[in-house]
C-alpha cells in the first residue's frame, strides 16, 4: 500500500537526480508518431533509449462509468468510440455479452453478417496500421495506397450500416438492418481488388531491403515476456504465443470456418509485421467462405424493448484487430449495468513497450511502437 503523500510525490523522472549524461525528453502528447495523445517520457543516453514511461489519460472519457447510466441497448454505441478502428468488433463483443446473459439465440443470418463485418473491419484496421507504420518509417506513399483500399471497405460499410467509421450496426440479438442488395457483389469486388493489391504491398514494403533492415531484430519480445505482460493479438502471436480467441474460444460461426492462426516465432518487429500482413489474407479467406453462403432468414432475433439482464456477472471476449477485448458486466437485475469493465488489448500491448525498446536507438522506438498498432482511445477509454 502506498500512502497518499507517496503517490502525490513529484515523479523523479523530471528532477535533477537523473544520472550523468542522461537526457529526458517528452514525446507527445502532440506528436505525429504516437498516433494520438500518447505521452512518452523517454530517458536517453545519447541516442540510446534507457527508459520509456508512457503517461496516459489525455483522452480518458470514462466510458466505463458512462455505460453504467445507459441501458443495454444504448451502451453498445458508446463502445464504438473506444477502439474506433475496430468499432464493429467492440459492438459485437458488447452485444454478445448481453445475448449470453439473456440467452438470446442469434439467427444464423445475423451471425454470418456479423462475422463478415468483423473481418472487413479487421482488414480495414490492418490497412490503416500498414500505411501508418510505413509513414512512421519515412515512406509516405504506402499510406495513400492503404487508404485507397480502406476507402472501399468504408463505402461498403456506409451502404449497409449507415456510417463509415462508427457503424453502430450491432444490436442485442442480431444486426440493426439487413444488408444492402449489392453488398455481396461489392465485397466480392473488394476481394478481387485487394488480392491484386496485396502483392503490390509486399513488393513495395515487405520485400524492400530498406524496410527489412529497419524492422529485423528490432524491438524483440520473447514468448515468456509476451505472456507475462499480458500481450494479445498480433503482438503476442509475433512472439509465438497461441492466443487467437477465434481459435481457442470460437464464437459465432468461427467454428465452421477454416482459417489458420498466424504465428511467427522471431518476436521482433518484422514478425509482428508479417503476422498482420498474413492475417489480412486469412480474413479474405474467411470472407470468401461466407459471402456466398449467407443463409436466408431473420437478421435480428425478437427481443423485448427494454432489456433486463439477470443478476450476475457476465464475461465475453473477442478478437479485435489489436488483440483480445473482454467485456465484463456485473448486473443487479436492472435495466442498466451495475459495473462494466473493458479489458482492452492496447493497454497491455503498450505496457511491454518499455521492455522492448530498452537499449535500442530512438529511431527504433518509433518503429517498434508502430508495430504495436496502438489506438490511444482504446488504451484510455
Amino acid at each position: 500500500m502506498y500512502s497518499q503523500t507517496e503517490i502525490l510525490k513529484e515523479p523523479e523522472i523530471n528532477s535533477s537526480n537523473s544520472a550523468e549524461g542522461e537526457l529526458v525528453i517528452n514525446i507527445g502528447p502532440q506528436h505525429p508518431a504516437t498516433h494520438g495523445v500518447l505521452h512518452l517520457v523517454v530517458t536517453l543516453n545519447g541516442e540510446t533509449v534507457k527508459k520509456v514511461e508512457p503517461h496516459l489519460g489525455y483522452i480518458h472519457r470514462s466510458i466505463e462509468k458512462m455505460c453504467e447510466s445507459l441501458s443495454y441497448r444504448q451502451f453498445i454505441y458508446v463502445t464504438s468510440r473506444m477502439d474506433y478502428l475496430s468499432a464493429h468488433v467492440n459492438n459485437h463483443a458488447c452485444a454478445m455479452t448481453v445475448e449470453k446473459a439473456m440467452q438470446i439465440e442469434v439467427p444464423t443470418r445475423a451471425q454470418y453478417i456479423r462475422v463478415i463485418m468483423d473481418e472487413l473491419t479487421r482488414i480495414a484496421s490492418h490497412e490503416l496500421w500498414w500505411g501508418a507504420l510505413a509513414m512512421d518509417l519515412g515512406a509516405f506513399t504506402p499510406f495513400f495506397y492503404a487508404f485507397r483500399e480502406r476507402e472501399t471497405i468504408n463505402d461498403i460499410m456506409e451502404q449497409t450500416c449507415g456510417a463509415r467509421l462508427t457503424m453502430n450496426y450491432m444490436v442485442p440479438g442480431g444486426v440493426m438492418a439487413d444488408i444492402h442488395p449489392s453488398f455481396q457483389q461489392k465485397v466480392k469486388d473488394f476481394i478481387k481488388l485487394f488480392k491484386s493489391n496485396i502483392d503490390e504491398y509486399d513488393e513495395l514494403v515487405t520485400g524492400s531491403v530498406i524496410f527489412q533492415s529497419r524492422m529485423k531484430g528490432v524491438g524483440c519480445l520473447s514468448k515468456e515476456d509476451a505472456i507475462s505482460y499480458g500481450c494479445t493479438g498480433p503482438v503476442a502471436r509475433g512472439s509465438g504465443v497461441h492466443c487467437d480467441i477465434r481459435k481457442i474460444y470460437p464464437y459465432e460461426i468461427y467454428k465452421q470456418v477454416e482459417f489458420n492462426e498466424i504465428i511467427e516465432t522471431a518476436g521482433d518487429s518484422f514478425s509482428r509485421y508479417l503476422v498482420r500482413i498474413k492475417e489480412m489474407k486469412e480474413s479474405i479467406k474467411i470472407i470468401e467462405q461466407l459471402i456466398d453462403n449467407i443463409p436466408e432468414g431473420d437478421y435480428q432475433a425478437k427481443t423485448k424493448a427494454v432489456l433486463k439482464l439477470p443478476k450476475g456477472e457476465f464475461y465475453t471476449r473477442v478478437e479485435t484487430a489489436r488483440g483480445e477485448l473482454g467485456v465484463y458486466i456485473v448486473s443487479e437485475g436492472g435495466t442498466t449495468p451495475y459495473r462494466i469493465k473493458f479489458r482492452s488489448p492496447g493497454f497491455s500491448n503498450l505496457s511491454a513497450l518499455d521492455h522492448m525498446v530498452r537499449g535500442s536507438k530512438i529511431g527504433d522506438l518509433m518503429a517498434t511502437m508502430g508495430t504495436l498498432d496502438l489506438v490511444i482511445p482504446d488504451i484510455d477509454r
Partner: protein, 182 residues
C-alpha cells in the same frame, strides 16, 4: 519478482548481399511502383468542387418532419430523448390551442426542441424510437461553426421547410431517408 528475460528464438535469415546493402536498387524498385501509379485511375475526389453521393442509409443531421399538409409531426413525447445514448436531445412540450390545427398535427407539440450536435453520436436510435416518424437522420453532413453554441440546433434549424409554402426547399431538405408520409 523474477527478472524478465530477453530470450528470443533465433530465426535463420540470410545476410544481405553487397547489392542489397547498397539500397540503391531497392529505391529504384520502389520508385518504379509509385511511378506506375501515375497512369492509374485517380481514386480521389476534388472536394469541395466535386462531391460524392452518400449512401441512402447514411446517418447525418436530424430533420424534424412535417406531414403533407405542413403540420409538425412531433408530439414531444420524449422517447427520442430517452433513447439517446449521448443525452443530446432536450425538449419542452406545449398544448395545442384552438386555431393552431394547421400548425401541429396532434394536441401536443414541442415548443422547444434542441439537439446538441457536439454530443450527438449519430447512432439513429432517436429515429428508431420515434412512434410518429417525426424525426429522422438525413444524409446532410454536420457543417462547421465558429462557436460551440452554434452547434446546439434549435427547432428552427431542425424543422423541415413547409411543403405547401416552400415546396422546393422541402424537396431539397427531405433527402432519400425520409419515411413515407402517412
Amino acid at each position: 519478482m523474477q527478472p524478465l528475460t530477453k530470450k528470443v528464438k533465433q530465426v535463420e535469415r540470410k545476410p544481405m548481399t553487397f547489392l542489397e546493402r547498397l539500397y540503391l536498387p531497392e529505391i529504384f524498385k520502389g520508385m518504379a511502383i509509385t511511378f506506375s501509379h501515375i497512369f492509374k485511375k485517380v481514386p480521389t475526389v476534388s472536394y469541395p468542387e466535386q462531391t460524392r453521393p452518400f449512401a441512402k442509409v447514411f446517418r447525418g443531421l436530424h430533420v424534424l418532419n412535417r406531414d403533407e399538409e405542413g403540420r409538425e409531426k412531433c408530439t414531444a413525447c420524449g422517447l427520442c430523448a430517452l433513447a439517446c445514448p449521448a443525452e443530446a436531445i432536450t425538449m419542452e412540450a406545449a398544448e395545442r390551442v384552438r386555431g393552431e390545427e394547421n400548425l401541429y398535427r396532434e394536441e401536443r407539440y414541442a415548443a422547444k426542441y434542441e439537439i446538441n450536435m457536439l454530443r450527438c453520436i449519430f447512432c439513429g436510435l432517436c429515429e428508431e424510437a420515434c412512434p410518429k416518424d417525426a424525426i429522422y437522420l438525413s444524409e446532410t453532413f454536420a457543417p462547421a461553426n465558429y462557436q460551440r453554441k452554434g452547434f446546439i440546433y434549435g427547432k428552427e434549424d431542425l424543422l423541415i421547410p413547409n411543403p405547401l409554402t416552400q415546396p422546393e426547399e422541402y424537396e431539397k431538405a427531405k433527402g432519400e431517408r425520409a419515411p413515407a408520409t402517412q
